[in-house]
């Protein structure tokens, strides 16, 4: 069962908007974000979610300097 279907909180990283600065990785209190080996169209190695452990605090969102690179989805958006 992955995070999206479990209804658990999870960060959603939009790969093409991420500049790989690492602020979200440093800010995550649960240490469940990391810089991946994936390189996006701008040439950045982007952040990724390890897949579990997110508590939905949105620290990553507020530390991210890009408007659209990261969102935090919480359980009540199940549809």
């Amino acid at each position: 069962m992955n995070a999206a279907s479990s209804g658990l909180p999870r960060p959603v990283i939009i790969i093409e908007e991420c500049k790989g600065c690492g602020r979200c990785v440093a800010a995550c209190p649960k240490e469940v974000l990391r810089i991946s080996t994936t390189v996006n169209g701008m040439g950045y190695r982007v952040a990724e979610y390890v897949g579990e452990g997110c508590v939905g605090c949105a620290f990553c969102f507020y530390n991210c300097p890009e408007p659209f690179a990261i969102e935090v989805h919480k359980e009540d958006d199940r549809s």
């Binding site: 939009i14 093409e16 908007e17 500049k19 790989g20 600065c21 690492g22 602020r23 440093a26 800010a27 701008m42 950045y44 939905g56 949105a58 620290f59 969102f61 507020y62 530390n63 991210c64 300097p65 890009e66 408007p67 659209f68 969102e71 935090v72 989805h73 919480k74 009540d76 958006d77």
Partner: protein, 467 residues
């Protein structure tokens, strides 16, 4: 629930290249700060009532991103533009956003005066202790010992000054409502910054006045660090010089009211019955050009004004054009008066028809410009040592003596007016000139009679000795 950005355009249409990505470097604090401002605007429901003034610097392109009204200010002038906006559209919310080079250096006075006036806008000051856009040079806010491209061995505060603490300086002013310094170096600090930004905008929504928020912000590129280390520099080094905290919060107080200064009507200020004159052309009134010249303080400009006033009351076209130095008294002063029955082309006079000269420099300067058929009246205690151009009629006149002998030493100008009347140089009824003279002393009624005496004595002298 999805936590995501609000208050931004969905697509950055004005921006070249990628339409959902900012132009900022990876890890730049501007993006974090603008995310907080955009979110606050959206949450407060003020986007459609807000005008955001972009600065010059890295944040010059805020108008690409923020979904509200946008204006771009010239370098350093965002605060001045905001001050104009709050006057032009007082019911709207205005935000000015500036970096430390923009606000702290070239634009400091604009920002300072806006804060001192308490102009009603939210002022966001992004401090990264250097000039970023131009390549990491020393800024007014650079730290003691900080290495920048123009202080490669470190900032020497003895040579280049101490870091400019803008919050502390603004906190000396009476009018700001709210002053706080925050940081976006980590989550805890970002949350405080978020609160401060929302408060500054709430103050605008309530129309309470000037709110200033300084935001310490990392510049990984010019701090020569990755984004995490740059943020660490902001916390470990910048906060030593720029301690975080709220310096002032008067947002719970009532907004200040304007002082109770009773407005005066234009009629009070100009004159009670002034309605703007209809001027009818009078082709038979010949144009005459008068030059009055002397030392400042001799009443030269007033003499010209009396003549201009008398002619104006008679419905003639008049111009009065003064020329004087920066000194209140003692320098050279002159005025050019043109009276005509028809419209006047220029108030400047190259060749006067009548020159009234009260001192030697006046003679030296203007007598050579006189042409045949013109008239010179000069203060006869001044020696006439200059060649008089051919065809100029010369009247020496003891204006100063006549004034003193009649008890008003300063009224030499009045004496000269009397002389001009008697010599028939004014083309108007005597009583109209006398009336204008009396009007000129409207604010000092005690002087009316004494000047009238000088005026009549001067006329008598001119009648007996000159005509």
């Amino acid at each position: 629930m999805i936590i995501k950005s609000k208050g931004f355009y969905e697509e950055f249409e004005r921006k070249a290249g990628r339409k959902r990505t900012t132009h900022y470097c990876a890890g730049c604090g501007h993006g974090i700060i603008q995310k907080l401002i955009a979110e606050a605007m959206a949450d407060l429901g003020i986007q459609d009532d807000t005008v955001f003034v972009s600065p010059v610097g890295c944040a010059a392109f805020c108008y690409y991103y923020l979904d509200c009204g946008n204006v771009a200010g010239p370098h350093g002038r965002a605060a001045a533009v905001a001050s104009g906006l709050v006057r032009a559209i007082p019911d709207k919310i205005v935000i000015a956003y500036q970096g430390d080079g923009d606000l702290g250096a070239i634009g400091f006075n604009n920002a300072f005066q806006a804060a001192n006036r308490g102009d009603g806008f939210a002022h966001f000051f992004v401090n990264n202790a250097l000039y970023a856009m131009t390549g990491g040079q020393l800024a007014p806010t650079s730290l003691p010992g900080q290495k920048t491209t123009t202080s490669p061995y470190g900032r020497d505060v003895v040579k280049t000054g101490e870091p400019l603490k803008v919050c502390e300086i603004f906190n000396q002013l009476d009018r700001p409502v709210y002053i706080e310094r925050v940081s976006v170096a980590d989550t805890k600090r970002i949350m405080k910054a978020r609160k401060a930004i929302r408060k500054a905008l709430q103050i605008q929504k309530e129309g309470k006045g000037y709110a200033f928020v300084e935001i310490l912000s990392p510049c990984p590129t010019n701090m020569r660090a990755d984004s995490v280390k740059a943020a660490q520099f902001v916390t470990d080094e910048m906060e030593k010089t720029f301690p975080l905290g709220c310096l002032r919060d008067r947002s719970d107080e009532e907004a200040p009211c304007c002082m109770d200064i009773a407005p005066r009507s234009v009629d009070d200020i100009v004159s009670a019955d002034y309605e703007g004159d209809e001027i009818t052309d009078m082709p038979d009134i010949k144009e005459r050009k008068y030059k009055f010249s002397g030392f400042g303080g001799q009443g030269i400009l007033s003499l010209g004004l009396v003549l201009a006033d008398a002619a104006s009351e008679l419905g003639r076209h008049v111009s009065w054009f003064p020329s004087y130095g920066p000194e209140q008294r003692g320098g050279s002063a002159s005025c050019s008066v043109v009276v005509s029955g028809l419209e006047i082309g220029s108030p400047a006079i190259d060749h006067p028809d009548v020159l009234v000269a009260m001192n030697q420099p006046s003679l030296e300067r203007f007598l050579p410009t006189m042409q045949s058929g013109s008239v010179l009246i000069y203060e006869s205690s001044v020696p006439l040592e200059i060649q008089v151009p051919e065809g100029v009629t010369v009247y020496p006149f003891p204006a100063a003596d006549i004034a003193s002998d009649n008890g008003v030493a300063k009224a030499a100008n009045t004496a000269l007016l009397g002389c001009m009347v008697e010599l028939g140089l004014l083309d108007m009824p005597d009583e109209d000139v006398a009336a204008a003279l009396a009007r000129s002393f409207a604010a000092k009624p005690k002087l009316v009679d004494s000047n009238k005496k000088v005026f009549e004595a001067a006329r008598a002298y001119a009648r007996e000795r000159l005509v």
